[in-house]
């Protein structure tokens, strides 16, 4: 026996073999994971290709090249550029249209909107005013949505500039054309609050939230300020609670509303508590609150709507089924 040559113990030999196996298994696992990941990603992924906006732009660019004198494709291209965030290209197209047709309202409004968005309110205001002068005496001025848009934009710019009288005039013109424009009603409320007529501001904001009672906190913020200015603390508390409700701060809204139930804002508070119950998944509780509102204010549209949709006296009959014989349908 050669005692001078080092010989590994059986354990060491086993370990060497185990190490080899571990290495092989690790390599197999890594390769397997990599392969599976690659197959999975390739199989699950599909190249989305050009976006719809890019596709529209490409089609319209082709149309403009085919007939450079035609204004309609240029206007459509300008709209597509705007949608794709290419404001400069859009403005170039509007300018091309305005060269041919200086009174083109679509081009004037499109260019004005881009300037307004970019913060150049002076230039934008001039273009909106131009639209108003072109359209205000038109045959369909009372239903002209482009004219309404121009009035609304003028009102917004003038409100920010604190030219409240001009703003109110423009916004009142806007809501005369489209009484369902919640944005215009909201801006009108802001302008009236700025002009120092908080009671009118409250009325305007009430109109604004009539269409979107639960998705938009800004009108309630203005309303709270207006009620505070009028010294109506309960109403101001209710309006502030509504901003909390919309922001899903239920823990603030609920406790703020409860104390109002015995005061002048009881109907509003009850309605809000109904909304709160509904938002928290308690339709039975909501229904009870809506009924309380109707006891205080039988014509309250939001409460009537709530009772209807929650099945408490719905005009839609409760569903029934008839397993009718063949042909009876």
């Amino acid at each position: 026996m050669d005692v001078s040559a080092p010989v590994a113990s059986p354990t060491a030999q086993q370990n060497r073999m185990l190490r080899r196996l571990v290495r092989i298994a690790a390599v197999v696992l890594v390769i397997g994971v990599a392969l599976f990941t690659a197959v999975y990603l390739v199989d699950q992924h599909t190249d989305p290709g050009p976006s719809l906006a890019d596709r529209k732009v490409a089609t319209l660019e082709q149309a403009v090249r085919a007939d450079p004198q035609a204004l309609a494709p240029r206007l459509q291209l300008a709209v597509a550029y705007t949608a794709a965030g290419r404001s400069k290209d859009a403005t170039n197209q509007y300018n091309e249209v305005l060269k041919e047709s200086p009174q083109n309202v679509t081009a004037l409004l499109g260019k004005a909107d881009i300037l307004h968005m970019a913060g150049d309110t002076t230039s934008a205001l001039a273009l909106y005013q131009q639209v108003i002068s072109v359209r205000k005496d038109g045959e369909y001025a009372g239903a002209d949505t482009e004219l309404e848009h121009a009035f609304y934009s003028v009102g917004t710019i003038e409100t920010v500039a604190r030219h409240y009288a001009e703003a109110i005039a423009a916004l009142e013109a806007a809501v005369r054309i489209n009484g369902a424009d919640a944005d215009a009603w909201y801006q009108l409320g802001v302008a009236q609050l700025g002009a120092g007529v908080p009671d009118k501001a409250v009325a305007a904001e009430r109109n604004a939230v009539a269409f979107v009672p639960l998705e938009w906190a800004d009108p309630y913020t203005t309303m709270a300020q207006a009620y505070t200015a009028l010294g109506k603390t309960d109403d101001a508390t209710w309006a502030t609670a509504m901003t909390d409700l919309i922001a899903k701060r239920y823990d603030k809204a609920g406790p703020a509303l409860q104390p109002l139930l015995g005061g002048p804002a009881a109907a509003d508070a009850s309605l809000s508590l109904g909304f709160l119950a509904e938002m928290q998944g308690d339709p039975a509780g909501a229904l009870a609150w809506y009924r309380k509102v109707l006891a205080l204010d039988p014509q309250n549209a939001s409460a009537l709507s709530g009772v209807t949709r929650l099945g408490g006296g719905s005009p839609v009959p409760s569903a029934s089924s008839s397993n009718a014989p063949a042909g009876s349908g």
């Binding site: 005692v3 040559a5 354990t11 976006s51 709530g306 029934s320």
Partner: protein, 451 residues
């Protein structure tokens, strides 16, 4: 006894060795090499082995050293075995035996550093054993992972579903993400898809007003041509029979449902066995029990009719005024039906017999609906409802017998023309891979979403 084999510890050998241990401890270490040499001179068989035994004993404890010292009478092999036993048991004895077998130790002893070398070897051996345990564990873990990977890969290659499907259904609350769009559809209102997702049928209400057939990647393959009868055809709703892949197309304008094979050949018309005057079929869905549920907008009031395969009317659901443009129907695994009662702004949940279980309507709660149109379910229990005016798709989990109202879990989509944005979405379908197809009507496309 062969000294290279470990001796089994016995009371007779262990006791004296233990008794002498303390006295011999120091001497043993210092004299280990000399003792080994003495053992060799005594003519003991395999002296180097005996010395090794002594060395091992010195490393492991004084008792072994003493045993080695007494080795002239007892035999170095036995002494080594006794020492090993005294040092702590069979395991160490075995180790010692193994070490004895090692020529490396003999070399170390011969070099005059036997005691320290043997101690190191024992430590090394113990370390090797620890390594063996660790390596065995690592190997077992790797083998488990490889097995898992193999199973997951096989599952995926068979079903091609997203990996999230392996999670418990109740944890699958995330919305799908936008994948791609099928463009060039003209005002598409309804979509159906084959189980494997390789055929997508899109009902178009503008352009040629046909049901277009696309492959799973969005390449148009052809269309479904209605019978040449000179009637003003407009497909309203399209459904696939999962049993044979046949495609059912409702044509409200002509009061008919046309049936096509999966490759687009016209087969026949589905008709009520007893004609229904002014029949206006809109939504078409096959129940799990094999009956056709069809929403009918004809006079005297909007309703759902249930037909057997041969067109026999077996039930009518909905009293006068209950439904206002019931649009589409989907079923869950239990056979409950989900009907979008569009102009009432609600989703009506019916049991298989047509009794109302619950509704989801307009209101303030999350997941409440504006103008519900398309509806679909998937095997995980997710329920998809398209809200055309909300410009999005609501995602619910089906309710339970405790409360049949679906539980809102998420939503996806917003208004616009970008990827994942809608302009009046309408129809919806889900394939077996959980790809979600939504007709984006005013954007003239079908969006495909996935998990």
């Amino acid at each position: 006894m062969n000294p290279i084999e470990p001796a089994a510890p016995t009371p007779e050998t262990a006791a004296p060795a233990l008794a002498a241990a303390d006295h011999a401890a120091l001497a043993a270490q210092a004299e280990a090499a000399a003792e080994a040499e003495a053992a060799a001179e005594a003519g003991l068989p395999q002296a180097s082995g005996a010395a090794a035994g002594a060395g091992a004993a010195a490393a492991g404890g004084a008792a072994v050293a003493e045993a080695a010292g007494a080795g002239a009478a007892a035999g170095a092999g036995d002494a080594a075995g006794a020492g090993a036993a005294a040092a702590g048991g069979a395991a160490v004895a075995e180790a010692a035996g193994a070490v004895v077998a090692g020529a490396a130790l003999a070399g170390a002893v011969a070099a005059g550093s036997g005691a320290d070398g043997a101690a190191g070897v024992l430590a090394l051996e113990a370390e090797e054993r620890r390594k063996r345990r660790r390596l065995t564990l690592v190997l077992a873990l790797l083998l488990i992972l490889i097995t898992l990977l193999t199973l997951v890969s096989a599952w995926y290659l068979i079903f091609r579903r997203p990996l999230t499907d392996l999670l418990p259904p109740t944890s699958q609350n995330a919305p799908p993400t936008y994948l791609f769009s099928i463009y060039d559809a003209s005002k598409p209102v309804s979509v159906a898809v084959s189980g494997a997702g390789d055929r997508v049928y899109v009902a178009q209400t503008a352009g040629d007003r046909l049901v277009a057939i696309f492959d799973g990647s969005g390449h148009e393959l052809g269309d479904l041509q209605p019978p040449a009868d000179n009637l003003p055809h407009t497909p309203a709703n399209v459904a696939v029979d999962p049993r044979d892949g046949d495609v059912y197309v409702s044509d409200r304008a002509t009061g008919a449902i046309y049936v096509y094979s999966s490759n687009g050949s016209y087969l026949r018309m589905f008709e009520p066995k007893v004609p229904i005057p002014g029949w206006q079929p809109l939504g078409v869905a096959l129940s799990p029990t094999g009956s056709w549920w069809i929403t009918d907008l004809s006079a005297p009031y909007h309703r759902i009719e249930v037909f057997a395969q041969d067109g026999t009317l077996t039930a009518t659901i909905g009293a006068a005024g209950m439904f206002d443009f019931p649009n589409m129907i989907a079923f869950d695994a239990t056979g409950n039906a989900y009907v979008t009662d569009s102009n009432n702004g609600r989703l009506v949940i019916l049991d298989p017999a047509g009794q109302v279980l619950a509704t989801v309507g307009r209101g303030a709660a999350p997941g409440n609906l504006g103008l519900p149109r398309g509806v679909a379910t998937d095997p995980t229990g997710r329920l998809y409802v398209v809200d055309a005016t909300g410009q999005l798709v609501h995602l619910y989990r089906a309710g339970t017998s405790a409360d049949w109202r679906p539980v809102f879990i998420n939503e996806f989509g917003s208004e616009g023309i970008g990827n994942g944005q809608f302009s009046f979405p309408n129809g919806i379908a889900v394939d077996s891979r959980y790809r979600v197809y939504v007709t984006d009507r005013e954007n003239d496309r079908v969006q495909v979403w996935g998990y």
